[in-house]
């Protein structure tokens, strides 16, 4: 596969998101604009200007009309994807580290940083899906994290729960209607850096600084799979179509200058989702991978790194053909059985 390099940011990438159809990629970096790109050829659709600080997070609604972003200037902004116009600004006391729309796009959650005497919170807004319509100022819900601040959060299937990953490595489950904490499980030993959903949102993958990624069930927070690596992880993603997960990480950014590129482990690692084996790596970046995102259609993936580049990869035949021996056997057995019938 021949990656396409996107050079729209001058600083380290913080998050990449595909829209639901997988044709547009949104990227945020520590410089102050969001870039939108066509996934098929890497053409830049446009940039969104208005934030006054490093951007930490971005999310796109399921219809690809609205874009939400959170930044270190203590605001969440809502954008019209097509024109690049800022539709709404919500102010907070501290930086916003994560935003995510619900599956239907009717609600938006934002995770705020714990700083300057303010506790970390998870805030929920009701979103008006009409681009020209007014957006409410009111927060429909606020969850305060008293013990350990939340670093990442997301909506589970049917927007039933809000799942949050914390600084101390635990995962919380909140009722999405009332904000009541239902469960809290210690899953990781280090800060949770990323949380991404499976296509049906019944389970998710977490990446942590403790060098592992885990597949966790959203309903009971049971750890189903663990992927062990040799480097702190910044991002993890589940691939549709094939049962793989992609992990990204590497030497912490501050230590990068003291290590060579080969030792820095700046590779995207592919693990088999079920068998937990590492099945390959993709090289290319000159810095640790800060974010990995997979095309929801399963055709490719994009990785963003501390080096300021986004690399968009389209999977080729070898990727789709790869199966385990047991998978092939099972397939052959199923075919034989069908023939008998």
């Amino acid at each position: 596969m021949r990656p396409v390099l996107l050079q729209g940011h001058e600083r380290a990438l913080t998050q990449i998101r595909y829209n639901r159809d997988g044709d547009i990629i949104f990227s945020t970096a520590k410089d102050q604009h969001i870039c939108a790109w066509y996934a098929h050829n890497g053409e830049r659709l446009g940039t969104y200007h208005g934030h006054q600080g490093a951007l930490w997070t971005v999310d796109v609604d399921p219809t690809s009309t609205l874009l939400a972003s959170g930044a270190a200037d203590n605001t969440v902004r809502l954008w019209d994807i097509r024109t690049g116009k800022c539709l709404k600004v919500w102010d907070f006391n501290t930086a916003v580290k994560r935003v995510e729309f619900t599956e239907d796009g009717s609600q938006l959650l934002a995770v705020t940083e714990q700083r300057m005497g303010f506790l970390g919170t998870i805030v929920v807004f009701d979103i008006n899906l009409d681009v020209d319509g007014p957006q409410s100022d009111e927060r429909s819900m606020t969850i305060t994290c008293e013990e350990s601040k939340a670093t990442v959060a997301g909506w589970s299937y049917l927007s039933k729960y809000i799942i949050a990953g914390h600084e101390d490595g635990s995962i919380s489950q909140y009722d999405a209607k009332t904000g009541e904490q239902l469960d809290n499980v210690q899953v990781h030993e280090g800060l949770i850096t990323d949380l991404q959903w499976a296509p049906d949102r019944t389970y998710f993958i977490t990446a942590s600084k403790d060098k592992t990624a885990k597949l966790v069930n959203a309903r009971d927070l049971e750890v189903m799979k663990t992927y062990v690596t040799d480097t702190p992880l910044n991002s993890a993603s589940i691939t549709p179509k094939k049962d793989f997960v992609i992990l990204g990480g590497g030497q912490a950014a501050m230590d990068v200058t003291t290590t060579s590129a080969r030792q820095g482990k700046f590779e995207a690692r592919f693990y088999h989702k079920i068998f937990e084996d590492e099945i390959g790596r993709v090289k290319g970046h000159f810095g640790p991978l800060n974010t990995v995102a997979v095309d929801p259609q399963g055709k490719g993936y994009a990785s963003g790194s501390e080096d300021g580049y986004v690399r968009v990869h389209q999977f080729d035949k070898g990727y789709f053909d790869f199966t385990y021996e047991v998978e092939r056997q099972a397939k052959a057995a199923a075919a034989a059985q069908q023939q008998q019938q």
Partner: protein
């Protein structure tokens, strides 16, 4: 005659063009195999005419996308990209090197191939314990607490300390059989001979695992050669002969490996390898006469 002038054949092409200032128009011809040949003319910085011939094969790649995606492809650009034309802009989008990615359960095997050798050296060293030459303790001689008061075992002083026991012709190691202070190398006994062999042996080993690489490109760099040969084992030395004035490679290099087996493998694999438009010739270095 006039016929020829009207329809110049290809051989006259350049001569005719020299006399005409205007550039010939771009021509596009369709070849039999379905490709198109586009001939473009332009002037370069020196005012010389440049003919660019491109052969292009057009393949229609049809992709069915849902109407939402198709509609989004027609959107106008905005923000920093507002002024960009259709298609990817060169300043933001580039195509990277091709990456071969084949998922496999034993993808690590290739990477591991090199490691056992490193391990074998480690294994060799594992059983070797540090031994002091003065007191035979488990520390380096320089760290020995008796360093200032005793001479190394087997030397004169040690022999004195040990008393008469070590005295005699079979006194181990050292410089010679006797107690005299200096024995010229050629007069030394068998023990000293070992030292000699060691010196000679060092070069010998070096030579045995050294490859001579010829037909190396002028543009080659030592690091490139090192990278190429390191695949086969630990490379202890890379020497690329360079011209003193121009700094260009002279066309030959020596690569020393830690292990002769690695060198043999590299010799076999790299002989005839294409590197920078030249075909490498790799052989074992001949011993200097």
């Amino acid at each position: 005659m006039s016929k020829v002038a009207n329809r110049p054949d290809w051989a006259d092409d350049e001569d005719l063009d020299d006399s005409v200032d205007a550039l010939p128009p771009q021509t596009t011809t369709t070849n039999k195999d379905g490709t198109k040949t586009i001939v473009l003319w332009s002037f370069n910085e020196d005012g010389k005419k440049v003919k660019t011939t491109r052969r292009i094969r057009f393949t229609t790649h049809k992709e069915v996308v849902n109407p939402r995606v198709a509609e989004r492809k027609t959107w106008d650009k905005f923000g920093l990209s507002a002024k960009d034309g259709k298609g990817p802009a060169a300043d933001t989008t580039t195509v990277g090197e091709n990456i071969i990615f084949r998922p496999s359960t034993n993808w690590r095997k290739d990477a591991k191939e090199e490691k056992p050798e490193v391990g074998s050296i480690k294994d060799q060293l594992k059983n070797k314990t540090v031994k002091c030459r003065i007191c035979s303790g488990e520390h380096f001689t320089s760290r020995c607490p008796f360093k200032d008061t005793m001479a190394p075992v087997g030397e004169e002083g040690a022999a004195d300390v040990a008393g008469g026991a070590a005295d005699g012709p079979e006194q181990p190691g050292g410089l010679g059989a006797g107690k005299s202070s200096y024995v010229p190398p050629h007069m030394r006994g068998a023990a000293a001979g070992a030292g000699d062999r060691m010196g000679g042996g060092k070069y010998e080993r070096d030579d045995l695992a050294t490859l001579r690489v010829t037909n190396v490109s002028e543009m080659a760099e030592e690091q490139e050669l090192r990278d190429m040969f390191e695949r086969f084992g630990r490379v202890t030395r890379v020497f690329l002969a360079k011209d003193r004035e121009t700094g260009m490679a002279k066309g030959f290099a020596f690569i020393s490996f830690a292990e002769r087996t690695d060198a043999a493998k590299a010799c076999e694999k790299m002989d005839g390898y294409g590197f920078k438009h030249l075909i490498l010739r790799v052989e074992f270095a001949k011993k200097a006469a």
